[in-house]
């Protein structure tokens, strides 16, 4: 009996000390190998098609796991504010090889790929590749054409390709009539804030993902501020033409009847009027995508 209890105590002590030691050792191993070592191994050893074959028919489950890996990888890189997203496209490609019907991967994954670093991977061509694969696999899903047109218009500045994407999408049964209107707008206007706002509004409405919706709202706010700044600068210029001098502050324009009141940005802060008539927001960090339409 006594012998047994001694053995139990020794076993408990061993369990705790050795267990803790193993966890610490593993932590060191991960540090030495680098956080992405495991991800790279699972990614490059088997291709998506090979993985599908060895999944014993459970490829859709494996696709869910790979999509989760891709989201976690994107999240980790995003929080590090690193401009490198080397594994993102291969992860998305493997995921869609495993389950070609997994629509969120094409929609959200392409936005992750297309946005400029550090918000995204800055790979709009890869985003287009992913979306075209999605359209080949799901030709009846018109929303993928929307995302394709969106990527061509905003990230690749290829307005002709954007027009074609919206036009093709609008022909699919069930597509919103708005798609046809968007195709016409693409042909008329490039770098137009109103069009860009409408596109981001579409992204906001089509996704359930909080980070993408948050990004869409920030883009919309930035675009509105861009448009407001352009408008304010035109009025300042008009004041200069009329009076021959730059306004000292906004009240000069108000007194002249060029503005109804002191202009404020979406956060409620007044716009800053700088010497020589240029206009800017008080806190540029609140609008991280200012000026992107002109880049």
């Amino acid at each position: 009996m006594k012998r047994n209890s001694t053995a139990s105590v020794v076993a408990v002590v061993m369990l705790l000390t050795m267990g803790t030691g193993a966890i610490l050792a593993l932590h060191k191993v991960e540090t030495v190998r680098g956080q992405e070592a495991t991800l790279e191994e699972v990614l490059y050893l088997p291709s998506g098609k090979t993985l599908k074959r060895i999944s014993l028919g459970y490829s859709s489950l494996l696709a869910n796991i790979y999509w989760t890996r891709a989201v976690q990888y994107f999240g980790a890189q995003f929080h590090k504010r690193t401009p490198r997203y080397d594994l993102l496209y291969p992860l998305l490609d493997v995921t869609t090889d495993l389950d070609p019907l997994l629509i969120p991967v094409y929609q959200t994954g392409s936005i992750f790929l297309a946005q400029r670093p550090p918000e995204g991977a800055g790979q709009p061509d890869k985003a287009v590749e992913l979306l075209e694969k999605g359209i080949r696999e799901n030709p009846e899903y018109w929303r993928l054409y929307f995302t394709l047109g969106f990527t061509h218009y905003l990230d690749r500045k290829d307005y002709k390709a954007a027009q074609e994407a919206f036009a093709k999408g609008s022909e699919i049964p069930g597509a919103l009539p708005w798609m046809k209107a968007m195709a016409a707008r693409m042909a008329e206007r490039g770098n137009d804030a109103g069009t860009a706002i409408a596109l981001w509004q579409g992204v906001y409405e089509m996704t359930q993902e909080d980070s993408v919706r948050d990004s869409a709202l920030k883009h919309i706010a930035s675009l509105r501020v861009d448009a407001a700044i352009d408008e304010l600068q035109q009025r300042v210029q008009l004041y200069r033409t009329q009076t021959g001098a730059w306004p000292a502050d906004w009240s000069d324009l108000v007194h002249k009847g060029l503005l109804p009141g002191i202009p404020v940005d979406p956060t409620g802060e007044p716009y800053e009027l700088l010497p020589l008539g240029s206009v800017q927001v008080k806190d540029p960090k609140a609008f991280p995508f200012l000026g992107e339409l002109h880049q």
Partner: protein, 258 residues
Amino acid sequence: MISRLSAIALNTFREAVRDRVLYNLIVFALLLVAGAPLLGQISIDIERLVLVNVGLSAISLFGVVIAIFIGIGLVSKEIEKKTLYTILARPVRRWEFIVGKSSGLLMTLAANTALMTAGFYAALLIDQRHLGRADAGLLIAVYFSALQFLMMTAITLLFSTFSTSIFSAVFAFSLFVIGTFSEDLRNFAALAHGITKWFSTGAAYIVPNFASLNVIAQVGHEQPIGGRLIFFNTLYAVLYSAAVTAGAVLIFERRNLK
């Protein structure tokens, strides 16, 4: 005859449900299903799909594992424990023993599938707060998994009639893996020539076709499964299992048990 068959089947069922392996597997599968919503939370836009894929894959895979682990001992254990001689000393025919054992294992698998399906739907209900029409469609995948178990039971029993437990498990699992590649085998046969074509075509028809019984991806994406596929899959699984069970009876009838 019916009473003898039902007696063997019920005893097999009772013996199986007393097996700890069964409970361990069921608990593990249910834990997996319960953990699925957590996996869905860290992904994007696929919460339901993750739950569906994990749940249906767990039902299918654990059912196959249970069929193998319990099936391999059905005949060999009776021989090792010498209990088979007691049974066969009574007016029980060898084929009745095999068919009874098979029925008992199928009853076990049916109970296990019902339990895991109930757990899966409970998880769906908790996750979605309601069950819709699309959720009812998931039962087709569960039904196809049950057909898979029917075939695996027959296969495991076949190996169990002439091999040891370990080898039966290895053979049965290997055939399960080959069965998931059966459509590749058929594609290979279509491209081959001469004797290779004949051999591979024959092999493609002899090995079980599990690929057509796995519709988890389709039901997960709410794609319709045709009535004809359900009918012909059922017909195929029943006929294949009957043929394999007949093979098991043939071997067991000729086996020297002395």
